[in-house]
Structure formats: C-alpha cells, structure tokens
C-alpha cells in the first residue's frame, strides 16, 4: 500500500462513499444513482468482454464499501468517453466524468492496474505533449509500439509500415521527430509555467498537496 492509500483508508475508515464523494472528481454524484441500469445497457464496451463492472455496479460497490475491489478494478479505465451513458442517464449523472474521476483517484493512490493500456496511453500522451507543448507523433507511436517489449514493437512497426509511409508522403508525419526535431511551441517555458500554475490552482481547490 502506498502512503497516500493508507492515509485515505485510515481517514475514511468504513465510509468509502464519503471518500469517493470528497476525493474523486464528480464523486458527489455517486449517491444519486437509482440503479436503473440504463448506463450499463448503453455502454458500447459492455458488448465486448472488457468491463468487469459496468457503471451501475461500480456505484453500488462504492455504496457497499468495496474499496479495494473498486479502486484496483480496470473497469473505469475501459471507458471510451462516448458519452452514451451520460446522455441517457435519467438522473442526469455525469457518468463518463465520474468514471474518469474514480480512475484518476485510483491512479493517485497508486492502485490503478499496472500497464493497463488506456492508463499507459494517457500517461505517455500527457508526458509527450506537455514537454514541448506539441505532440511528438513519432515518439508517441514508438513508445506505444514498444510497450510490450522490443520484438512486439518491431512486429507492430512492420505491420503499420504502409500507413506510416503514406503519412510521410502526404507530409502528415515528420520522420525527423524521432531525433527531436519537428513542431514545438514557441514559448516552452511559458507552457511549463502555465501547467505549474494549473496544478497549484487545482490543488488549492481540492485542498491537497501539489502533485507532479
């Protein structure tokens, strides 16, 4: 258990609902669910063997105090942000946002499943784009391809070869990005300052320590 996790578990004891309400973005909506199941029925990923627990179940598990099960679950990470549930919820719960809120909280506590593809993509994308203010597409692709090892990366790269060549031909992909060239923001320091300020404001709003 991480320190943050231990601290939170101790702070809220058995009241996981309250923990989610106070700590997770949009968590205060969880109590308003009336268990109709429209979200679960509307979720496009539910038709694939992706979800362990659909949103309705996640909400119920939170109310039932199943802390470990919820926070370590890969379910929230499966959300594709299609907003079907959000639009259809008769109680007007912002379900998509709640899912992201819980996922982010689990990540913050260090409980999110390691190497979960969506989590990995989010992290890689964020780091990549905040560095220069623009996405380095070649490096982003590289890091995703080689996520599961060197050989898997080579294999995936060969698979996508024709697409990449087409993009280069159409001047949609700059191969020199691999060496650190390519598009960047003009005021990179400014970008970093802006992000730092945003973190500070966010932490102030949530009454938390500033995290990286």
């Amino acid at each position: 258990m991480s320190n943050a996790n231990q601290a939170m578990a101790a702070r809220y004891k058995n009241n996981f609902l309250k923990e989610i309400e106070e700590q997770a973005e949009m968590g205060e909506w969880v109590k308003m669910c009336m268990q109709c199941g429209v979200c679960s029925g509307s979720c496009p990923t539910h038709f694939h063997p992706g979800w362990e627990h659909p949103p309705q179940e996640i909400f119920m598990m939170i109310r039932a105090g199943k802390r470990e099960e919820v926070l370590t679950s890969p379910s929230m990470w499966m959300c594709t942000s299609c907003y079907n549930c959000y639009v259809r919820c008769p109680r007007k719960l912002p379900i998509t946002h709640i899912m992201h809120g819980i996922a982010e909280y689990a990540y913050r506590l260090g409980l999110a499943p390691k190497m979960q593809p969506t989590l990995h993509l989010s992290q890689t994308f964020w780091r990549n784009c905040t560095k220069t203010g623009r996405v380095n597409e070649v490096r982003l692709t590289q890091s995703l391809y080689f996520k599961d090892g060197f050989m898997a990366g080579i294999k995936k790269g060969l698979e996508m070869k024709d697409v990449a060549l087409g993009l280069i031909k159409a001047k949609r992909l700059n191969i020199l990005e691999a060496l650190g060239f390519g598009h960047k923001c003009k005021d990179q320091q400014g970008i970093q300052k802006m992000l730092a300020k945003a973190r500070e404001l966010e932490a102030k709003r949530k009454n938390r320590q500033v995290t990286a």
Binding site: L17, K31, M32, M34, Q35, Q56, E57, M60, M61, R63, A64, K66, R91
Partner: protein, 749 residues
C-alpha cells in the same frame, strides 16, 4: 293515464330517405304496427320535427311514440318527452350505416329496416312511462364512518356543500393514522422535506363546524332502510344509543398495518429494535425533531429500512399486493434521521422503489442527504450484540451473503383494509368459480370478524369485497361505487393509498354521496342509470318464493318480508334488471322494460320461411358496452350481416331465458348474447350482472337439447366498448356458422 294513443314517426333524413323505401316503412307501422298516427319528416330531430311530435302529444293525446330514426343513444335531448313512452327504431346506426349501399343489398337492408319499425312499434305498445319510485326518503344528512383523514375530509367537503354530517369515530379522538405520524410526505414544491400532517387543522375545522356532529368512542350498531331514509343506530361507549336519520353513507374505515408478528424471520418480536413504520413514527414523534432514540434510550446511529416486508409476496404466505405508500414513507423516515443528525447511516433495502405522485423529487432529496438505497432482498434479521445484522441478497452485485449491521431495523409491512365482514364468505357461493375466491380471501385471515355498518340487508351486514378484502370498486370507470347504493367507500379501505390520494378520494366519495341523496329524494336511480325513474315491481300473486331475485340482486336491494316474499327497496335499486332476468315465473318487471317489452320485439320480427334461405339472428346487447360498440361500428361504417336484429338490454343479467326460448321457438336461427367481461377484471356496470347472466345462460343449453337444437344456436360473446372493429366480423362469422349448420326447423309455426 287515460286512453292510450300510439304514434310512429319516421325520419327520412341522414340518408334514410335515399336508402330506404319510406312509404313501405309507413305502411308497416300502420298495418302491422297498428299505429294510429304515422308521420314522416325529412329532419325529425330538427326544431320543426320535434314540434310536430310535441303538437301530436298536446293536441292528439299521443301517449306512446315509436321514433324510427337514429339509435336510442343519439339525439336524446331532442326526443325528450317526459310524459310520453318512447321507443326508438334504430334505422340509421342499426341499418343503413352498417349495410353497403349496393343494389344487391337493397332488399335485405329494407327488410332490416322494416323489422326495426315493427320492433319499435311492438316495444312502445308494451311500455308505460314510469312515474318514479314512490318510496322515497328526503333525508339529506351524510353519515361518515371513520374519523381519519378520509372521513374528516368527506365530512368537511359535504358540510361546505351545505349538507349536515354525522361523523362516527371508533376511538376517543379524530385523526386516525395521520394523527400518529410525526410528519407527512411533502405535498408542495420543492418536495424536499417532510411537512406537517395537517391533522390538527382538520380537527379544528371539524370542531368549529356547526353542520358536523361528531360521535367519538362510537360504532354503528345498526343500519336499516334505504338511500334517503336510512335509520342508523349509533352505539356510544358511555351513554345511550343514538338513532340518526341519514341520507347517504361514506365509509372511510381505513386500514390496519399487516401484523409484523407474522414476520419472525425479519426479527420482529425477537428484538425490540426491529419496528414497523408506525413504530418509527412513534420514536420520531417522541424525539420531536431531536436525535431519534431507540426503545432502550440509545441514540440511533445506523438504520436499515426493509421494504416490502410481508407484502408483494408471491409465495401466498403474506400480502400479495403493494401498499403504495411505504417507499415514500421510508424515504420520509430516513430523512427524519438525517435531518436530526447527518452522520446517521440510513440504508433502504428495496426491490423496486415506487414513489407515486411527486415522490421522485422526494427520493432525490433523500439521496442528496446521503440516504443509501440498495437493491436487495432481505432474508433474515438477527440480533447481534447491541444491534442487529441484516442479511440480504444484493441484487445488483449478486452477492447472496451481503450483510449490514444496524442499531435499528424498520419494516415496511403493508396494509390490510378495515372492511368489516366478508359477506361472501358468510353465504354459500352463488356462482360457480366463486368458491375459489372466497377461500382465498378467508385464507388471508385478515377479515375482521366485526361488522362495521351492521346493515339489516338480506345479503349481509357489510359492503361486498372485491379482492384481498378491499371493498368493491372499479378502478377506472366508477371508483367510488360499491354494490350498496348510496354507501360509498373512500380512502385505504377501497385500495391502498397515501394521504394525498385519500383526500382526493374522500372528496369524490362525498360528491357521489350527495348526488345519491338528491337522486333518492327524487325517486331516481343512481349510477349507472343515473336519473332513471323506472323501478322494479313484482306481481306477488304469481311469486313462488324461490328467492332467486333476493339472492342474485347485485345491490342487495331486495329483502324478504315475513311471508318470505321479495320486498323491494326501490331506492337501493340500480335498475339493472337482474331480478327480472332471474325470475323463473317472470313476475318482476319495470314499467318501460319488461319481459313483454323485449318479448314483443322478438315476436314482431318477420321470419322469412325456410325456402328463402334468409336466417334471422337475435342480438341481445348490453346497453353499456355492446350496444355502443355496435353504434360506433356503424359510425365507422363497419358493415355486418343484414340477418341480425339487435335489442339493447340493461345488462346481460336482465336477460330472461324465456326470451331465448321464445326467439328460437318463433323461428330465429341463432341468438347472440353480448355482455361485459366478468370476474376479477370485470367491466360490468352492475358488477355482478354479466356474471350472473352468463351463469343463467349456461343452463339454456339443456333447453336447446330439449328442443333438439344445436348448442351453437346460442352464442355468449364478451364485448367491450372498444370492440367496434372486431364486432362486425364476429357477427358475420356467426352468421356464416348458422348458414353452415342450417336454418332452424322451427320456421313457420
């Protein structure tokens, strides 16, 4: 009335003149119908046409008029001559609108029209214009039984309308259940917090009202008489019995909670900290807005509400129905706890949360306050340590071993109506198939053995019950009506309901009761033949004292006198004619509806001889559903066979088997009986009329056997008012069937 003078009026408007040979119809009315005056008018329902009839009544002394124009259900305002007996020949909806306008159809259409003219003439000659029930009572005092929200509302509404009220309450104070509540479910925007019950205000209004006389600690010892002239003995606990003259009665006797002792698996009786909803109201009332404490004085920190405890039970062990208010009540009670202390854990375990009215907003308000709602079925509540463990099957997570620990458990137990004695369980079942219902009701064991009204009616001391002990009523068509004229039930004794619904219900019942008193005073019928002046009379010298009429009357209108002859209480009667249909010696009749008025019509139909290959089929159609369905089929120009002749009857229950044997004897090839649905989901306006009629008709097949006729010659059809599209098809199918089995051998005798 002095000399009889008969007249027939034939309309040639609405296309009748173009489609029919009016001169031939006139000849039929004159020669066969033996009408002294026969007139035709191109627009009979116009001012001019009506004036023509009026002039004949005034100047020629016409006492009986056969108006051959449109359906009896049309133009009733125009053809309204209160002193003249009127029969209607249905040439428009009954003939030209249901027949194709073709050359081939012309002959059979004309035959149909001529028959309807013959029938109208025959009917009117057999009729007398009724003068109204002479045994009226003009008492206009309303008796309200029960001093709860429903009873107090009914009393105040009647008083505001200018009527005197006698209010009888069994206990020592007014208020009923509502007085025991801490707060009630909100009735106003924004529907977020429980509000004052309003009982104190109602009681104050009652006490200040000079029109309302209240008897506390009192019960009804005896109710005798009839609408407009009830004599009610009120037994007061300390003091002499009071006799009151009453016009109509509203029974608002409410409900009792289902006995939680029958739910030992939910911990009731095993731990003092398992209470029913009334128990929590008492704790909340004692706390009066402060923190709620248990019986042992400990502050409640966690509560579990168990919904549907002993109700909506499919096993047959407990109540099978929903009480309608418990979900809102549990939400309200959880809010009591949350409002007193937001840190109290409140969990509501439900299977379906049903929040009628504006309860959905209230539900949201509770969720906002942090009340937790979990979908689950409770299997057991066991005492553990200082509190209780609730074991349940979590239906969302499918966790069969889920459990919660709580200081207090509240059971939402359900309602049992205080409807008095189940009179059907007292008497032997009258109709086959009813046996099962009776035993089911008595199995529930919730029927209070004590009578509430103590009616001196032959059929039993209380209001008949429909289902699960709730008193009679038709949910959609006539919710307040019972099978006892001028006695209305209101509130939860009629069906499960909350305070808001009970107030509305009581207001409605008070209005109906006022209407019934006024109608009774004028010698008129109440619903559904409201305003009808006819009433049944019996030729007692022919009576065999078989008691069928007294047993069958759905409204308990007929008692027996000392010599065991039927004793009609006309004011209790709804004029359905079931007694007339039941009478084996045919001594019961109404002035304008009798064995004769229908029998004469049957005999008036011209039966073609067997070589013409034109069958004749008699339709006896209920005037409340089947006949309007036929009219509406006509309005939509849904054609049907020209071989049928339809006669409206007041109810299938009023059909006497003699009409069927007469029809078959005189050469009819088939009889179609059209009546309403019966049983639990009944549609009959007289509740039991169609059921009794059908039972009686089931015996007609023996008669058919005796006459050596096929059983198919009588068809019993269930018809609803919405059957306008299917009914013509059914008529045609039946006609085809009759053609297939061949014409009746009884032609030409």
């Amino acid at each position: 009335m002095a000399e009889k003078k008969h007249a027939a009026y034939i309309c040639s408007g609405c296309g009748l003149g173009e489609r029919l040979d009016i001169a031939a119809l006139e000849a039929v009315a004159k020669k066969e119908g033996k009408m002294q005056i026969v007139r035709t008018h191109p627009f009979l329902c116009s001012e001019e046409g009506v004036a023509m009839i009026r002039a004949d009544i005034d100047n020629e002394g016409v006492t009986h008029a056969a108006i051959c124009a449109c359906s009896r259900r049309a133009k009733t305002d125009a053809f309204n001559f209160p002193t003249t007996a009127i029969a209607r020949g249905n040439l428009r909806e009954g003939v030209i609108w249901v027949r194709p306008d073709t050359e081939e159809a012309r002959e059979t259409t004309q035959e149909m029209a001529e028959d309807y003219v013959r029938m109208a003439c025959a009917e009117v000659k057999a009729m007398t214009q009724p003068a109204g029930n002479p045994n009226t009572g003009t008492n206009k005092t309303l008796l309200v039984v029960g001093g709860g929200i429903s009873g107090m509302t009914a009393a105040l509404e009647a008083s505001k309308a200018g009527y005197k009220v006698v209010l009888v309450e069994k206990t020592g104070q007014l208020g009923g259940w509502a007085a025991r509540l801490h707060r009630r479910v909100p009735t106003r925007e924004p529907f977020k917090s429980p509000e004052d019950t309003g009982v104190a205000d109602l009681v104050a209004q009652i006490e200040a009202d000079p029109n309302i006389k209240v008897y506390l600690n009192a019960t009804i010892a005896k109710t005798a008489g009839a609408p407009g002239r009830f004599k009610v003995d009120i037994a007061v606990e300390s003091g002499p019995t009071v006799t009151a003259d009453i016009g109509a009665i509203v029974q608002a006797t409410g409900f009792s909670l289902y006995d939680a002792n029958k739910l030992p698996h939910l911990g009731y009786g095993k731990s003092p900290h398992v209470v029913d909803q009334a128990g929590l109201e008492a704790l909340a009332k004692a706390a009066n807005g402060g923190v709620i404490k248990r019986a042992d004085g400990k502050e409640v920190k966690s509560v579990v509400f168990v919904q549907c405890a002993g109700q909506r039970d499919a096993s047959g062990e407990h109540l099978p129905y929903c009480s309608g208010y418990c979900c809102n009540t549990s939400i309200k009670q959880a809010i009591y706890l949350k409002d007193a202390n937001p840190d109290v854990d409140t969990v509501v375990l439900f299977t379906d949360l049903r929040t009628p009215g504006n309860g959905e907003d209230f539900y949201r308000a509770a969720q906002n306050r942090g009340v937790i709602f979990s979908k689950g079925v409770v299997s057991e509540v066991v005492p553990s340590g200082d509190g209780l463990t609730v074991k349940f099957h979590d239906l969302i997570l499918d966790d069969k071993n889920a459990q919660i620990v709580a200081d207090l458990v509240v059971l939402a137990t359900g309602v049992v109506p205080n409807s008095g004695v189940n009179i059907e369980a007292l008497t032997a079942p009258q109709v086959e198939g009813q046996e099962a219902q009776v035993s089911e009701a008595s199995q529930l064991g919730e029927v209070k053995p004590v009578s509430i009204l103590n009616l001196t009616y032959r059929q039993g001391p209380d209001i008949p019950q429909l289902k699960w002990g709730f008193t009679d009523s038709h949910f959609i068509c006539f919710p307040y009506e019972t099978r006892r004229t001028a006695i209305y039930t209101a509130g939860p004794v009629r069906r499960p309901m909350d305070i808001a619904q009970a107030i509305e219900d009581a207001t409605g019942a008070a209005m109906k009761a006022i209407q019934a008193m006024e109608n009774a005073g004028l010698g008129r019928a109440a619903h559904p033949r409201s305003g009808d002046l006819s009433f049944p009379t019996a030729r007692l010298e022919g009576c065999t004292q078989c008691k069928r009429c007294t047993v069958e009357c759905p409204f308990g209108a007929i008692d027996e006198d000392e010599k065991r002859f039927p004793l009609f209480n006309e004011s209790r009667c709804r004029r359905c004619g079931t007694c007339m249909g039941a009478c084996p010696v045919r001594v019961i009749s109404f002035e304008n509806y009798s064995i004769n008025t229908v029998g004469a019509q049957i005999k008036a139909v011209n039966i073609p001889d067997e070589f013409e290959n034109k069958p004749r089929i008699l339709i006896l159609a209920c005037e409340n559903d089947a006949y309007p369905a036929l009219d509406m089929a006509a309005l939509n120009r849904n054609c049907y066979s020209a071989y049928v002749r339809a006669i409206p009857v007041r109810c299938l229950g009023s059909v006497n088997t003699i009409w069927i044997t007469d029809a078959l004897n005189s050469g009819f090839d088939g009889v179609m009986l059209m009546g309403c649905k019966h049983g639990e989901e009944y549609q009959c306006h007289f509740v039991k009329g169609s059921e009794l009629g059908r039972y009686r008709m089931s015996k007609v097949y023996d008669t058919l056997k005796g006459m050596n006729l096929e059983p198919e010659r009588v068809l019993d059809l269930e018809v609803a008012i919405t059957d306008l599209h299917t009914l013509p098809k059914k008529i045609d199918e039946y006609t085809a069937k009759i053609m297939e089995i061949g014409l009746s051998p009884f032609k030409g005798f």
